[in-house]
Amino acid sequence: MVINGFVTQKARHWQGFLTRSLGIGLFILLLVLPQLSFSQTAADEANFVQCRACHTIGGGKLVGPDLKGINEKQDEAWIIKFVQNSATLIASGDAEAIKVFEENNKIPMPPHNLTDDQVRGIIKYIANGGKLADGEAAMATETTEDRVSGGAIHDPDEEVVAEMKRADMRNMRNTFLIMLVLMLISIFDLSVSKFIKARWIHIVIILISIAVGSELLFVESAGLGRQQYYQPDQPIAFSHKIHAGQNQIDCQYCHFTADKSMHAGIPPLATCMNCHSQVKEGKKTGKKEIAKIYAAFKNNKPIEWVKVHNLPDHVYFNHAQHVKVGKVACAECHGEVEKMDEIIQVKELSMGWCIDCHRTKKVQFESNRFYDQYTKMHEKLKNGEKKTVTVLDMGGEDCQRCHY
């Protein structure tokens, strides 16, 4: 299994001299990239994602009832009807439906746009104890296992990464200090002690020190204002690992403007209350953290989250362009959020990082009708002059795509 690329301990965020390194960024990038390739699961499990917001399989009652054994308790046709539109079924006077409705504090189950076969698939999935049938489970097992072991905060692999990162930082600092000391010694020797007679040795040492120092200075100063590994404390100990990981709530259930606006959007409290009007106790933190939501709601005072992913003011970034048009997965920039308890910025979010992606990423040239007007490019594709169309070909390196 590929190790997690994230460090859950606080990576202290220094902006100062020689505390971060480009090398670490690349290293993390290398660790994360292979993971991006296997985010698909089988259709049934994917469909069950929306159920997970309110139901468990053998995990007890959440918003709605535990679904373990539902396939034995209820008739399949009834389940299909109830899932597709519970309100209609209740309104039709179905005794069983009314019973379920009343047992669950009269919280209506919202209608779901699922076909009969899809619901049947989900029932099969539940019957199988929340696992895919053998053979279908090639990829998904790992995620499921991971979810089961998700309670542990410290993953040994994460420790390794953190240690490597710290080591790298130490190395960089040590290199700089060694060079500085060498340079000072040689200057001292050159002007005062005169221990070494051949003066070219001094000069070579000084020049090399200056060169290494300048390189480090350049790398570091280019990183000024960047916040890779920034992981601030949040006002509520909200865990993405539980919500997006264990409960498999879709990113855009909460960040619902990501495909509409430049901002992905922090969910309004009302969105939290959709579930937390029922879920009053957390697995790890008990009632304490969830109570903060109620307090905020009661006092009419929004929660002041600390923004993790910041871009400079002169950068215009649009989520809709990337999520909806470019079909870029959230994880490509935000990492595997579903494995983070507290959000950490895993990517550099530097201009070089943006541009690197723009140079290689393919645009939806054939499928999006917008690109029909690029007749010359279509011509080139047809006669084989070009194989693919990247963001760069559409002007992705032009300054005023992001700066205006």
């Binding site: 965020h13 220094w14 902006q15 100062g16 001299f17 000024l224 204002g225 916040q227 920034y230 601030p232 403007t257 509409k260 606006s261 430049m262 901002h263 959007g265 922090i266 969910p267 309004p268 409290l269 009302a270 969105t271 905020a296 709601f297 009419n300 929004p302 929660i303 002041e304 989250w305 600390v306 923004k307 910041n310 400079p312 003011d313 002169h314 215009y316 649009n318 809709a320 362009q321 909806k324 048009v325 999006n368 009708r369 917008f370 690109y371 029909d372 007007q373 690029y374 007749t375 010359k376 490019m377 559409m394 002007g395 032009d398 300054c399 005023q400 795509r401 700066h403 205006y404």
Partner: protein, 974 residues
């Protein structure tokens, strides 16, 4: 001989004398704000240097060792469905400030209005706006706004003042003591209904409407002629010939936005059309309309009647109407009369003079020409300008006589703009209850013991009926920022009308909207569209003839007052955008001044910036104004405010007292004396700031020439096209190449685009001192050129912004590539990469690049709108606010291009023509600016560039601009 074009009369005259102006021109004096004397003169000592050095080193160390600031992301508790952070919402609403009307769309971002656009659905303004409408959004964020109700000049609360005022009103009602409700013109049928409701219930309350600039003579003349005291609605689009007399209908007269739209419809020479209207203008000061006229005559205000009567006689002779004795006039009226007679029923004669005799002659002419029912419509009259001069005079008289117990003053400022402001102020002292609804503590509110501040119009509910049958709705676009209350709600509260005005409005619309269908659907549709029309029946009108007469002019110097395009009659004197907007004619900013004709200036040895004394009182600097009629001088209204706010206080002088009271109060005609004072006063005039050194920039021809040859006046273009060659590789565009065309025949120079651009692109206001230092930041300027005779020149208006050259001279010289070319033909400017060498500015032949000499944000040296939290709310969050030391320029509103491209991508379709609009092109009241994709062969802009009139600015330089101009065609005989 080649025709000469010039911008500054002073430079032009010297050049004519043969002096080498270029070498003689004195360098303007520069001052550096923010530095004291010793620093300018370089007297700082070595100690200072070391101190600065130590400070900066420690500051850098401190900053670099600090952590990044913690940024918060605060979501809403409940996110309303329609509110998506980052996505703008547009609300249809109405702009009406007592004078000007416009149907608008308000762009809000995160629930705060940041930009006004025209409403394309409006049959009146048809998507156009004016500079004032564009700038009105800044008034919402004016620091001078009252934050609470006031009682006796101190902050109070609504409960207290409600009780006091209601007690007083009740007492007056019991003793039947008169209370006057003094308002501006009210065109809202619902507000009118409410007020009539109240005056019906309380017989002691009298409602008086007052206009700072009165138009009552037009109403009175129609009352005499047709039995209806109405201002007819005008159709300039149906008029082939328009003869105007002192009426600046493209700039300030009645409804300039609608008139500009109509005017330009008739002057579109595209796709082989050679049909265009002809404008005659007889006027005293060179107005915007006069500068666009095909034939213009400079007349004294008192000459107007004689000329009109002669014109009438010419027409009456041919149409068998009664002729009257008229003194002879030196001005040619035959030509205009012939044109009018050839276009009976398709012509229009208008006069802006508020004089009954003159308006009667105008009506008689229009009647003789059969224009009523064609270009003039009494059945659908205009509801603008309903002020009653006599009623207002009576109020002032009664106040002074102590007969009035209370005045409630809404949206007018007579203590500043009444002709006898002193009498009004004196009278106010004798009134017990003085209530103002002003949203800033203006001159009149300063005289009141209670101020019940009204909402800004962007916070209010209302409706409007500017023309009978054409309604529009005003809806709030932001929660009230301060503890203010809408005027109507205050009235309802005090007079015991139950409910709130919003419900009152909805109820009142039940009688307006059709009864069939679901009311709430109809009501919501009306709110969504912003406009609603109902059919008005035509009626028979009988013209009853009145005797006409005119007197010969006196010999003295006559004063012609006028409303400025920017600040109007004084309502916007505290709006820094409008104060800094160069006047379309004089190009002056931040001041008022006396316009003096060239002949008078030469005779009396007066020159630019000399201060003169008018009538022994008011002292103002002068501008020698080409086109100013001999025997007249002109001064703009609206200045000299003492309680407008930080930007407008003490700018210029108040000249309302110099209006001509002769029957009705008219702006022109008062005889005045001028004295030289020997003083000078600096004026910030931008006309020569970005001069193109006398090259053939504005190209023109006459309609006759154009009919013969579609390249008329534009022969150079053909020559340049043939001779141009280049070493550079031609850029190969694919998909999108943005382009713009500007039709000089349509453009009137109204400067709406200048302010629209300023609002859209966060352009800084820099103040008079820096404008004088030639540092104005506007991305878009309107060059004004004169040619032909100095005394009555031809005028050309030419909007100039970054031309987005494909061979851009600026791009080659930037040492850090902070300006470069995009694959869509944009010349991109990168603020964060710019190091401020200003090479690009020096190398730009069009002089369109601007440099941030100072930090204009959060800097109290520039105390306008960008140094306060409130003022900064108007900034467009999609556009970077520039910092000190970087160059900037027009970006072709790249944020809009990107937004619309994204919309198209999200909707999985190609871009539509006309979908992408820049700020300047979107709200242009004459549709002179067209923007689009040059590679789309069906787009309007790519059709426009195939016209014979098309040329590029300075095209012999072969910069290959993306912006093209279309030759100006004047409708004259060759």
């Amino acid at each position: 001989m080649e025709k000469k074009y010039w911008q500054s009369i002073e430079n032009h005259l010297e050049a004519k004398k043969g002096e080498n102006k270029r070498n003689n021109e004195p360098m303007p004096e520069f001052s550096i704000e923010g530095l004291d004397e010793s620093e300018i003169k370089g007297k700082s000592s070595r100690r200072d240097f070391l101190k600065m050095l130590g400070f900066s080193v420690s500051a850098v160390a401190l900053v670099s060792s600090c952590q990044m600031p913690v940024r918060k992301a605060i979501p809403l508790l409940n996110q309303p469905e329609e509110l998506i952070p980052g996505v703008p919402n547009f609300f249809a609403s109405t702009f009406f400030d007592g004078n000007d009307y416009c149907s608008i769309l308000v762009k809000t971002r995160e629930n705060r209005p940041i930009k006004i656009e025209g409403n394309n659905m409006s049959p009146i303004s048809k998507g156009g706006t004016s500079a004032r409408v564009q700038a009105s959004v800044l008034n919402l964020y004016d620091d001078a706004r009252l934050k609470k109700p006031h009682k006796e000049a101190v902050d109070s609360d609504w409960e207290t003042i409600d009780k006091d005022i209601m007690d007083n009103l009740e007492a007056f009602s019991l003793t039947n003591k008169k209370v006057v409700l003094l308002t501006s013109t009210i065109i809202s049928p619902t507000t009118k209904k409410l007020i009539e409701d109240i005056t019906g219930r309380y017989s002691n309350i009298e409602w008086v409407m007052y206009d700072a600039v009165s138009y009552q003579a037009i109403r009175k003349a129609h009352e005499l002629n047709f039995g209806e005291a109405a201002i007819p609605s005008f159709s300039f689009d149906k008029a082939k010939v328009v003869v105007g007399f002192n009426a600046d209908y493209l700039g300030t007269w009645l409804d300039p936005v609608a008139f500009s739209k109509q005017f330009s419809r008739n002057r579109k020479l595209f796709k082989g059309n050679t049909d265009m209207s002809r404008l005659y203008q007889y006027e005293s000061q060179l107005s915007l309309t006069g500068s666009n006229a095909d034939y213009r005559f400079g007349i004294k205000p008192s000459d107007e009647g004689v000329i009109l009567l002669n014109l009438y006689n010419e027409i009456a002779k041919a149409t068998a109407f009664t002729t009257y004795n008229a003194p002879a006039t030196a001005f040619d009226v035959k030509k205009a009369a012939n044109d009018l007679l050839e276009n009976k029923g398709k012509s229009l004669v208008v006069s802006g003079t508020n004089n009954l005799n003159i308006q009667l002659i105008v009506n008689a002419i229009n009647n003789a020409l059969g224009n009523y029912g064609q270009t003039l419509d009494i059945d659908r009259p205009m509801n603008l300008k309903q002020g009653d001069e006599k009623a207002m005079a009576d109020v002032v008289k009664q106040m002074n006589a102590g007969e009035i117990g209370g005045v409630l003053i809404h949206n007018v400022n007579p203590a500043y703009d009444y002709i006898d402001a002193k009498a009004f102020a004196d009278g106010m002292k004798k009134v017990r209850l003085r209530v103002s609804f002003a949203d800033v503590k203006d001159e009149t509110a300063g005289l009141c013991n209670y101020i019940a501040p009204d909402h800004n119009y962007l916070e209010s509910w209302n409706d409007a009926e500017p023309i009978k049958g054409q309604l529009s709705i005003q809806q709030p676009t932001i929660n009230p920022i301060f503890d203010t209350r809408q005027f109507q709600d205050s009235l309802m509260k005090w007079t015991g009308v139950s409910g709130n005005f919003r419900d009152y409005l909805e109820n009142s619309w039940k009688s307006i909207l059709p009864s069939e269908g679901n009311y709430s659907i109809n009501w919501n549709k009306a709110k969504q569209d912003g406009v609603y029309s109902y059919a008005v029946e035509d009626k028979e009108h009988k013209f009853s003839e009145q005797g006409l007469s005119a007197k010969v002019a006196g010999s003295g110097i006559e004063l012609a007052l006028y409303e400025k395009i920017s600040i109007g009659s004084g309502k916007y004197t505290n709006n820094p955008w409008l104060l800094e907007m160069p006047d379309p004619i004089t190009t002056a900013t931040w001041d008022n001044y006396v316009c003096v004709p060239l002949k008078y200036a030469e005779e009396n040895d007066l020159k630019f910036e000399d201060v003169v004394k008018i009538n022994g009182g008011i002292e103002l600097p002068l501008i020698v104004q080409p086109g100013q009629a001999d025997g007249t001088i002109s001064i703009a209204l609206g200045f000299g405010r003492t309680a407008a706010g930080k930007a407008g206080n003490g700018v210029g002088q108040n000249v309302f007292g110099l209006a001509n009271k002769n029957g009705f109060v008219s702006l022109g005609g008062k005889e005045v004396t001028i004295e030289k004072t020997g003083k000078t006063y600096p004026l910030a005039v931008t006309q020569i700031h970005h001069t193109m050194e006398g090259r053939a920039i504005a190209r023109e021809t006459t309609l006759d020439e154009y009919k013969k040859n579609k390249y008329a006046g534009n022969e150079e273009h053909l020559r340049d096209e043939k001779n141009n060659t280049t070493l550079y590789k031609k850029i190969d565009f694919d998909g999108i190449q943005w382009g713009m065309t500007i039709d000089l025949t349509s453009c009137t120079g109204c400067a709406n685009c200048v302010i629209a651009c300023q609002a859209e692109n966060n352009v800084a206001v820099i103040g008079k001192e820096q404008v004088k230092n030639r540092r104005i930041m506007h991305w878009m300027r309107i060059d004004r050129y004169y040619s032909a005779e100095e005394a009555n020149p031809d005028v050309y208006h030419m909007p100039v912004m970054c031309q987005h050259c494909d061979n851009a001279p600026c791009e080659n010289v930037c040492p850090v590539a902070a300006t470069n070319h995009s694959n869509e033909g944009l010349n991109q400017m990168l603020y964060n990469r710019c190091i401020g060498t200003r090479y690009c500015i020096n190398n730009c032949p069009y002089k369109v690049r601007r440099f941030n000499w100072f930090e204009f944000t959060n800097n109290n040296q520039f105390d306008y709108n960008m140094n306060s939290d409130l003022g900064k709310m108007v900034l467009n969050p999609d556009v970077t606010v520039r910092q000190r030391g970087v160059a900037e320029k027009c970006s072709l509103c790249v944020q809009r291009l990107q937004e619309k491209k994204l919309t198209a991508k999200m909707e999985n379709r190609e871009l539509r023509d006309g979908e992408v609009q820049t700020a300047c092109s979107q709200s242009c009241p004459t549709d002179a600016i067209t923007f689009g994709n040059l590679l789309d062969k069906n787009s309007e802009v790519s059709q426009n560039v195939t016209e014979g009139r098309m040329y590029h600015l300075l095209e012999h330089l072969h910069t290959l601009p993306s912006t093209s101009y279309l030759t100006k065609v004047k409708n004259r005989e060759a």
